[in-house]
């Protein structure tokens, strides 16, 4: 679904920006990091809600699910419009995503699931190649970190071509990584972060007091 793809794209973009901001002179900037993490959180919420919507829609096509987040209401309208197959391509400016995007109304729910992750993986690479971060896609990094934690070791390129069944699962890894990492921001019960061990000296970019949050954010994007 378009919304899911867009959310994925923005999440990946944010992760890339966070990584890139480490390289800047002057180090990580707290305000910028905070803003990026806010966008990441919104994108993640959007992605997960859209995913929930998609699942519910395949079960109950007529009723769009209720969501507590008012931010998602414009999306629900968009989806309702899509379901009603209205030909209108022009979305109101309350549409959270860029209205320059291809008209979402034309997407039918039926088209949403088959290979969204695979398509989005392609999109992700292409959007990142502009950034000049040759080769290394944050999703790869996040997945590598997952695997590193699980103790698995495998080649990076192999992981890039997962079969479709796994592709669906591949992206949620990033979402899960971010979910775990940003649990503090989401005010959930604090996820245990024993996996976040004291950082190695050379990997440490931020002011020491600026700390846990930044370390957490940084570690989410740096696999090695």
């Amino acid at each position: 679904m378009e919304v899911q793809k867009e959310a994925q794209r923005i999440m990946t973009l944010s992760v890339w920006k966070m990584y890139h901001s480490r390289m800047q002179r002057g180090g990580l900037r707290l305000h910028r990091s905070l803003q990026l993490s806010l966008v990441m959180r919104s994108a993640r919420e959007l992605y997960l809600s859209a995913k929930v919507e998609a699942h519910e829609q395949t079960e109950v096509p007529s009723l769009p699910a209720r969501s507590p987040d008012p931010r998602l209401h414009p999306l629900r309208e968009a989806q309702a419009a899509a379901e009603a197959a209205s030909p209108d391509g022009e979305q109101p400016c309350s549409e959270p995503m860029d209205t320059q995007e291809a008209p979402r109304a034309e997407e039918t729910p039926a088209r949403c699931t088959p290979h969204p992750a695979k398509v989005s993986r392609k999109r992700r690479s292409s959007s990142l190649s502009d950034g000049g971060d040759a080769g290394l896609v944050p999703s790869k990094k996040a997945r590598l970190e997952e695997e590193a934690e699980e103790g698995a070791s495998s080649e990076v390129p192999d992981r890039l071509q997962p079969p479709p069944a796994q592709a669906e699962g591949a992206f949620p890894n990033l979402a899960r990584v971010l979910q775990r990492r940003f649990s503090g921001l989401l005010n959930c019960s604090p996820a245990a972060s024993p996996t976040v061990s004291p950082p190695a000296c050379e990997g440490k970019p931020a002011c020491r007091p600026a700390d846990n949050m930044l370390n957490v954010l940084v570690r989410a994007v740096v696999a090695f």
Partner: protein, 457 residues
């Protein structure tokens, strides 16, 4: 008898309509399109009389321009600004403990009011504030007994008479010397400095803390605001700007990344963690979007000269607040509302993080701020008219009146209008300054400084 200042321009000072016409006066800086990063202007500030104009750049340099004495015969032009002094204020440093490079970029310059022949200003980078003394030397002593004029020592045995050295005129030399260095007080990046109306103390603000300094004392400062949470994972907002009230030496405000402004009274307690007033406008639900949170971040806050109002700048608008009313601004001006539908693209190219500043004119009747495509905007609070002008070398004949510009948001583009998609987002005007008494404005593009004046008939 020629009037020095046209009273019409002085007191009406309108930004739009027929009341005032802005003319190109000067442009400073390199002409070529290839911008050296060190030349990027990062701050612009007039001194209290308006005679001096200081700029800071990314390379850590400060350049001060001085207005020429007005030509009394030709009253149709005000004095030009020429380079008065240039010095290296900050150098890049390296924090070995944190493995961090500290940028030399000058974040802010603030002038002290003039007390004697010398001028003083505060300049700051991310970590260190410096007090600079700028003084003129136009005489030098000559006629030493033991030294030659070039400084070589004379052989004492050749001295047969004694003379008293005397001061003789010399070519004007402007010297800048650092008088105080206020360092090691900020863990995070300094975003603001503001001199108190007592002219003895000043504040410096970083992302999480605000410190109060005495201008004479460099080895300690008082922490007056600290919003760092015990657990950094709970961090939800940072301080984005801070300023002292122009008249009340106990009052200051600071703005946050969440779009709120807190007014604090230092008499209430030593640590001003509890605000006296909280200025916040409820979010308009129809404008709620994915990026609402980050575009509500306030990038600049400025008190009016009167001290009755304050102005805040967020990504899309300028708001004027009455200090007596906390629940909403009294005026809101849209700077570039046509960008609201482009926020996603602006996030991709990082423009959404641009920090625009804003400024008042001397009489607090007009406010000004920058935009993209080298456009800047003025809003007249009395007539409610606004105008968009462009800082461009194309109109660079002195006294050429600037033509108002218009951005076409959607639909058919009229002649002379510019469509949103053709705006150059690399050409941004983040820093502007207005002369405290006259209608002279300084507008900084990426690496050029433009000076515009109103047309004096």
């Amino acid at each position: 008898m020629f009037l020095k200042f046209s009273p019409r321009a002085m007191f009406y000072g309108a930004g739009g309509g027929n009341d005032i016409q802005w003319c190109f006066s000067q442009v400073k800086g390199a002409v070529d399109d290839d911008v050296a990063e060190a030349d990027i202007i990062s701050t612009v500030e007039f001194n209290h009389s308006g005679e001096l104009l200081a700029t800071g750049d990314k390379g850590g340099r400060v350049v001060i321009f001085q207005q020429e004495q007005e030509n009394k015969i030709q009253s149709h032009s005000r004095g030009e600004y020429n380079v008065y002094s240039t010095f290296q204020s900050h150098e890049p440093e390296f924090d070995y403990l944190k493995s961090l490079e500290i940028e030399e970029k000058i974040n802010k310059i603030r002038w002290l009011p003039q007390k004697n022949a010398a001028q003083f200003l505060l300049s700051t980078n991310d970590k260190t504030i410096k007090l600079w003394k700028i003084s003129e030397r136009d005489k030098r002593p000559e006629g030493y007994n033991l030294k030659e004029e070039d400084g070589r020592f004379r052989d004492p045995t050749t001295v047969t008479t004694l003379r008293v050295p005397v001061f003789r005129p010399m070519d004007l030399m402007v010297e800048a010397s650092p008088r105080r260095i206020f360092a090691n007080a900020h863990t995070y990046h300094i975003n603001s400095i503001s001199i108190n109306s007592d002219y003895e103390t000043y504040l410096s603000a970083d992302d999480l803390r605000i410190n109060l300094w005495h201008l004479e004392i460099t080895d300690r400062s008082f922490n007056i605001v600290d919003i760092k949470p015990a657990n950094m994972e709970e961090l939800t907002e940072v301080i984005t700007a801070a300023e002292f009230h122009p008249n009340s030496c106990n009052t200051f405000v600071y703005s946050s990344s969440k779009g709120t402004i807190r007014l604090c009274d230092m008499r209430a307690s030593a640590l001003c963690d509890r605000h006296s007033k909280l200025f916040e406008e409820p979010e308009d639900p129809s404008n709620r979007s994915f990026f609402s949170e980050i575009i509500s971040s306030i990038s600049d806050v400025k008190f009016s000269h009167s001290g009755r109002y304050m102005m805040t700048r967020d990504y899309l608008s300028v708001k004027i607040w009455d200090l007596n009313m906390e629940n909403r601004p009294v005026e809101t001006y849209q700077v570039h509302e046509y960008l609201r539908s482009k926020l996603c693209s602006l996030y991709e190219n990082d423009c959404i993080f641009d920090k625009f500043e804003c400024c008042w004119n001397g009489s607090d009747s007009v406010v000004m701020t920058g935009s993209y495509n080298n456009f800047f905007r003025m809003f007249d609070r009395n007539t409610k008219r606004d105008i968009t002008l462009e800082a461009s070398r194309e109109n660079n004949k002195p006294r050429t009146v600037l033509k108002p510009r218009k951005v076409c948001a959607s639909g058919k583009r009229k002649k002379d209008e510019i469509s949103v998609d053709s705006l150059d987002f690399n050409k941004k005007i983040l820093h502007t300054a207005w002369h405290p008494k006259e209608n002279i404005i300084a507008v900084a593009t990426t690496n050029n400084l433009y000076i515009f004046q109103d047309k004096v008939n």
